[in-house]
């Protein structure tokens, strides 16, 4: 463990809460808007620190299985792009779509979990696939 408490996420949230509670109400106009954007960005970072590594590993594993190849996540994504350009994969390919949907949903859970398409897709998929651990 390289650091003491607070953890990176806890520290980030402390900064975010401070800006939101103490600084934001004192600003107006463009400055307020820019700080709101900054606060949102810290929210993105907090979610990424929490789940990013795990999402990246899952994406890499799915890519490996889909492509039948080994490599870093970046290498495999490049290979996937090449194969899409060469039409070895198309938009009619359910396995490809499934992988890309999972990747897009993971990204959205970090970038903007309030986005309507994300929220409605999440509600749909949990209705379609009842969780087995309940």
């Amino acid at each position: 463990m390289p650091t003491n408490r607070p953890t990176n996420v806890e520290l980030l949230n402390a900064v975010r809460d401070f800006l939101k509670a103490e600084v934001l109400p004192r600003l107006g106009g463009t400055e307020k808007y820019h700080l709101q954007v900054a606060v949102n960005a810290l929210g993105i970072l907090g979610r990424e620190l929490t789940s990013g590594v795990q999402f990246d590993a899952a994406e890499q594993e799915r890519l490996g299985a889909l492509l039948g190849a080994a490599g870093t996540r970046e290498e495999l994504n490049r290979l996937l792009c090449t194969r899409i350009r060469e039409r070895q994969f198309t938009y009619r390919d359910p396995k490809l779509i499934d992988h890309l949907m999972r990747t897009a949903m993971a990204k959205m859970s970090i970038d903007n979990p309030k986005y309507a398409t994300y929220v409605s897709t999440l509600a749909q998929s949990s209705a379609d696939e009842p969780r087995t651990d309940q």
């Binding site: 820019h34 949102n40 350009r85 938009y91 890309l100 959205m108 903007n112 309507a116 398409t117």
Partner: protein, 327 residues
């Protein structure tokens, strides 16, 4: 800076209209990287006129857009053709020393999409807006091209090639965007009608009052092309502001927009053509988000919102996957 601007504006009015005028309440409305907007009143001995100044700022635009003089001429032609737009007063020339811009009447009202979709005061406006959009589009698409300045011609094929080129130049490898380009390649519609296309017809570019749309803004993407493009663009999920089930700007249904358009005298609209343009529009917005992010990353526009908007690219990836599946 705003004092110089006020002095130059006063001279520009005096040169054109002879009278001494006073410029009052000059205020910057937005500090966009590609355009500047100012509001002000011009006071003469008889009247006080509420006006807007719009001019280019330094930063590079995503796609080739009209310069403000050309834009003002398209906007004037639209005004003559019965489209609700702010009436152009005059475009600047070199003597004005006011940059590349123009002055138009100020139309009061709301432009923010979420407010228009949510607030009670716009309930009546929302109820009529699909029909109103249809009637406005009929007028835009019926404008005699002879009344317009020479505009770029951009059909489906040209737009797709342009987006594909922009994507490749970023050097990013995004599987969803590759797939969208593949889908679009397979769905390019045959050469459509060639009419004036607004090019940025969406919620956010309408000034709305309690009774409905008062003015259509932002004509700098106007071109000659496929009228279905304006239908596709207004249906891009990013402009629905959460109201997904209303594919037209979060307030209307596409089938109603099409039927009102045809009833109002517009030519038949093919929903498949519209779908092509919605997918293309969604990809385009995703690329604009990336473009903004790179403006920050390259040091061209050191503004935090440019950096952060890069993370909105993922919204269009999810929307593209849904759109390609026909959802």
């Amino acid at each position: 800076m705003s004092e110089d601007l006020a002095n130059n504006l006063a001279s520009a009015f005096r040169r054109r209209f002879g009278d001494a005028v006073q410029i009052a309440d000059l205020k910057s409305l937005s500090g966009g990287a590609s355009a500047e907007t100012w509001k002000f009143d011009v006071i003469t001995s008889e009247s006080r006129l509420p006006l807007i100044l719009q001019r280019m700022a330094g930063a590079q635009q995503f796609e080739a857009s009209l310069d403000r003089v050309l834009q003002s001429r398209v906007q004037s032609a639209a005004f003559e053709g019965g489209v609700p737009v702010a009436q152009v007063q005059f475009a600047f020339d070199d003597v004005d020393n006011l940059g590349n811009g123009f002055v138009m009447r100020r139309v009061e009202g709301e432009t923010l999409g979420p407010r228009i979709l949510k607030l009670d005061e716009f309930a009546a406006a929302r109820a009529g807006m699909t029909r109103q959009c249809a009637e406005i589009l009929v007028r835009i698409h019926a404008l005699d091209t002879k009344s317009l300045p020479v505009l770029p011609v951009r059909g489906a094929r040209d737009s797709l090639d342009s987006l594909s080129g922009i994507y490749r130049r970023f050097g990013e490898e995004l599987p969803v965007f590759e797939l969208a380009l593949q889908w679009l390649e397979d769905h390019v519609p045959a050469q459509g009608g060639t009419t004036l296309v607004h090019g940025d017809f969406r919620l956010g570019n309408f000034i709305v009052g309690a009774e409905g749309i008062r003015a259509v803004l932002d004509w700098e993407m106007a071109h000659i092309g496929d009228p279905a493009e304006d239908f596709g663009w207004i249906c891009v999920p990013s402009w629905r502001f959460g109201q997904l089930e209303h594919e037209v700007g979060g307030f209307g249904k596409l089938r109603d927009l099409i039927s009102c358009y045809e009833t109002a005298g517009g030519r038949a609209v093919d929903a498949q053509r519209v779908r092509f343009w919605t997918v293309l529009g969604c990809l385009k917005w995703g690329l604009i988000c990336l473009f903004f992010a790179f403006q920050y990353l390259n040091g061209d526009v050191p503004a935090i919102e440019r950096a952060v908007i890069g993370r909105r690219t993922s919204e269009t990836e999810l929307d593209l996957l849904k759109l390609m599946r026909g959802a």
